[in-house]
């Protein structure tokens, strides 16, 4: 394409461009030295850059990218969409950080004075601050009471306001528009997974969610719903209902990290045969956080799967494990091809072989040692090493079943001989969530796999890949070693010991009381009684 134009006149195009650039560059730092600058340069500039433009040396390893302070766009505010944040808004983010990003909270590391000085210093990066009136916080009112009716109303308004377009039907960030979302810097940005409220950047309470609905998250695709209320399309109360509904999509409490996954012993029923068997609703769930594989090259700084919900049961013969995780797409999904290309372009090229070409599936690996360790020693958590291999169940979304394999280091898995394959898999994908069940006899004939034992903690680790997020090979989400504990039948001592304790204590009590009363009747008691004692 060519657009032709002959330049005439005193001013050339280049000159005008140069003038424009000068104009754009002029709104910089106003030279405020002091505590704010020293604190910023020391602790913040590595990511946000000395000039506050979000281009610190670490920026390329992070997605979302560090905030560009020159734009004065702040996601978490108590002010209306497009308005500047209050000082308290900026201070809050410095204090508590932004959980889905690389921004930590600084409350414990920097003094009150340093954090206050930072607020002032950050504002100097943008010429928007100091013009006109101080930004005013909105009075958000008080949360309505939650009830089933309120949640139903909230769900209805979630549909009316089409929140699902980005966040998906059940809030897992899997909406049809999620594939093209961009932030203010034109970087791809994920629609929040509303089932993980403990990771919301502005906090996970109903009040926090309501504020985000009213103010929007500036610099992201999340708009403000204030106009919708002002136009009378929905009432403020209905907006509160949406906040309550969104809150209800996440668990009551943020999950703790359970080191041990309890495999419950099922004695009078059959083990479930499918991933969505209702029997799974009856057993406890453990949360296993996953993080990017940044240990061996090529590393991966943008893992999509950030946690797994793991359950297990056994019947003395077989072990069944169910793993659920949020993933917005059933990879490979052509709708996400462009997203994948952009993520790879941004996050992959720095080292190692390029990512796998062509469509890439979602994958999940459950890893055990090859035998239950007797001492403390066990294989290297990152898929073992030459000396000490690991045993794995490997599942991928583009093939049925799962494969048992042995690995001696990341990327070296070799399947066990087909005669020794004993693990079965059942997987379903719905509304941005994978549910995968893996099942295997507790002991097998094979010498290459692990024979499970009951009554002791067996190391287990997990790996996950979202193919549509450009993940394959070593570009993965990983966990460290956790444990799975196959319950044993409750030993008889569990019931006998308390009974015995009851009998002994009770008998002793009776004995003491009996003796005391006998002595009382025999008049041996010598002390004077205090008459008014009740």
């Amino acid at each position: 394409m060519r657009i032709l134009g002959v330049v005439k006149g005193q001013l050339g195009a280049a000159a005008v461009l140069a003038l424009f650039l000068l104009g754009a560059g002029a709104g910089g730092v106003s030279g405020q030295e002091g505590l704010g600058k020293t604190t910023y340069d020391k602790w913040c500039s590595g990511c946000h850059g000395v000039d506050g433009d979000g281009r610190g040396v670490a920026a390329e390893y992070m997605l979302p990218r560090p905030r560009d302070f020159t734009l004065a766009l702040y996601q978490i505010r108590t002010t209306a969409s497009g308005e500047l944040p209050t000082d308290a808004d900026i201070r809050r983010i410095i204090d508590v950080g932004m959980p889905t990003t690389t921004m930590p909270g600084w409350e414990d590391l920097l003094s009150e004075a340093e954090r206050d000085a930072l607020v002032d210093y950050l504002k100097t990066f943008s010429r928007f601050f100091g013009q006109g009136d101080e930004p005013q916080a909105i009075d958000f009112g008080r949360a309505t009471k939650v009830s089933d009716a309120v949640l139903t109303e909230g769900r209805e308004q979630y549909q009316v306001m089409e929140c699902f377009k980005c966040h998906g039907e059940f809030g897992r960030g899997d909406g049809t528009s999620a594939t093209t979302l961009e932030d203010a810097g034109s970087f791809p940005i994920r629609a929040a997974d509303l089932t993980e409220n403990w990771k919301f950047n502005g906090g996970g309470s109903v009040e926090d969610i309501f504020r985000r609905l009213r103010t929007g998250l500036d610099g992201t695709p999340m708009p403000s719903y204030q106009d919708v209320v002002d136009a009378g399309v929905i009432t403020e109360e209905q907006l509160w209902s949406v906040a309550h509904y969104v809150r209800s999509l996440a668990p009551e409490d943020a999950p703790g990290i359970d080191e041990v996954i309890r495999a419950e012993l099922i004695q009078d029923a059959a083990l479930p045969t499918t991933a969505d068997d209702p029997a799974w609703d009856e057993v406890s769930v453990s949360y296993i956080p996953l993080v990017g594989q940044i240990i061996v090259s090529p590393r991966w700084f943008d893992p999509r799967v950030d946690g797994l919900w793991v359950q297990a049961m056994h019947d003395g013969q077989e072990l069944a494990m169910r793993i659920r995780w949020s993933d917005p797409s059933q990879s490979p999904d052509p709708d996400w091809a462009e997203w994948k290309a952009r993520i790879i372009d941004l996050m992959a090229p720095k080292e190692g072989d390029p990512p796998e070409a062509g469509p890439t599936p979602d994958r999940l690996v459950v890893q055990f040692p090859k035998e239950v360790p007797t001492g403390l020693e066990r294989p290297y958590f990152l898929m073992g090493d030459q000396r000490n291999p690991v045993y794995q169940w490997r599942w991928r979304s583009d093939q049925p079943g799962a494969v048992e394999a042995e690995a001696r280091g990341l990327g070296t898995a070799t399947p066990l001989p087909s005669a020794e394959q004993a693990v079965t898999a059942s997987a379903t994908f719905a509304d941005g969530q994978w549910t995968l069940m893996l099942r295997r006899p507790i002991t097998t004939e094979s010498v290459s796999d692990l024979d499970f034992t009951t009554g002791e903690a067996i190391p287990v680790a997990f790996f996950a890949w979202d193919g549509d997020n450009g993940e394959s090979g070593t570009r993965a989400a990983i966990s460290s070693w956790y444990f799975v504990f196959l319950e044993e039948p409750t030993p008889a001592t569990v019931f006998i010991a308390p009974l015995a304790a009851f009998a002994i204590t009770g008998g002793l009590g009776l004995l003491v009381v009996g003796r005391a009363r006998k002595r009382e009747q025999e008049g041996i008691v010598t002390e004077d009684e205090t008459p008014d004692e009740a």
Binding site: M1, R2, I3, L4, G5, V6, V7, K8, G9, Q10, L11, G12, A13, A14, V16, L17, F20, L21, G23, A24, L71, L73, S81, G82, E83, L84, F128, V160, M161, E162, K165, C166, T176, S177, T180, L181, E182, A184, S186, G216, D218, T220, P221, M222, P223, S224, Y225, Q226, D227, V228, A231, V233
Partner: protein, 256 residues
């Protein structure tokens, strides 16, 4: 570019042409307007106002525009008789370029113009912004309308002004304005990634957008300034401006 410039009056102004088609906009607008200390109130006098008109000729092969997949939005898809296309570069059948923002860039600094009380309408219809490019004066209301009755968000990301990100989940209207001059302010609907629009914000009323036929018309104010202003032609994709002196030497039909 401008051919057939019709200069009825001598213009003491710089005219800029901005092809605001699909480009990222860019933060190099004339941001420091309104700073004139002794600006003179100078409403346009229709009796002495001149007109400038021209068309923007596109040379070379017109790039093929992408088709937009509106499968997810049947309401919008049904509004289009043929497959909707992106509007990054729209070349008319006669070889002229549509959606070019033409404005007086320099020479009016000493004058002040009243902000029109009439709002400008930006419609979202068939999951497209109508118009794709529009000009307003700083402070002038822009009525943003949702004629589709499905969720749009209007995410404005200016650099000289404060932006906004408004949700419109049903057929409704909202009003916004920009405080200072900025060419161009990009608008985006994040729900429908293909929806973009550009707003040229000026502190005077002399701007126009080339249309579906070929003509961009400017009504210009006669001034007592020296007669050799500069015509700025700001072509494709926001890369840079073309500058052209705007004086009495121009004769109709001149190709720039």
């Amino acid at each position: 570019m401008f051919d057939g410039i019709d200069l009825k009056k001598v213009l003491a102004a710089t005219v800029a042409v901005f092809i605001a088609t699909g480009c990222g906009g860019g933060g190099d607008g004339g941001g420091d307007s309104g700073g004139g200390a002794a600006a003179v109130e100078n409403p346009v006098d229709a009796a002495t106002a001149g007109n400038i008109s021209g068309s923007i000729a596109f040379e070379g092969d017109a790039p093929a525009m992408q088709t937009i997949d509106m499968e997810e939005e049947p309401v919008c898809a049904d509004k289009h008789a043929s497959t909707p296309m992106t509007e990054d570069v729209v070349v008319n059948d006669n070889g002229t370029l549509a959606n070019v923002f033409v404005y007086v860039k320099e020479g009016l600094e000493s004058l002040q113009f009243p902000t029109p009380s009439q709002p400008v309408m930006l419609d979202q219809n068939g999951c497209m912004y109508r118009p794709h490019v529009l000009g307003v004066m700083a402070g002038q209301d822009i009525t943003i309308k949702n004629s589709d009755g499905l969720l749009h968000n209007i995410n404005a990301s200016p650099t000289e002004n404060r932006g906004f990100n408004m949700s419109q989940p049903v057929a409704m209207e909202g009003t916004r304005s920009f405080r200072v001059a900025e060419v161009m302010v990009p608008l985006r609907c994040d729900v429908h990634g293909w929806m973009t629009a550009y707003i040229g914000v000026l502190d005077h009323p002399f701007h126009a957008v080339s249309g579906g036929d070929d003509v961009a018309r400017l009504a210009c104010q006669r001034t007592d300034q020296p007669a050799d202003g500069t015509l700025v032609f700001r072509p494709a994709l926001g890369l840079h401006d073309r500058v052209e002196p705007c004086s009495g030497e121009h004769s109709p039909g001149k190709t720039l």
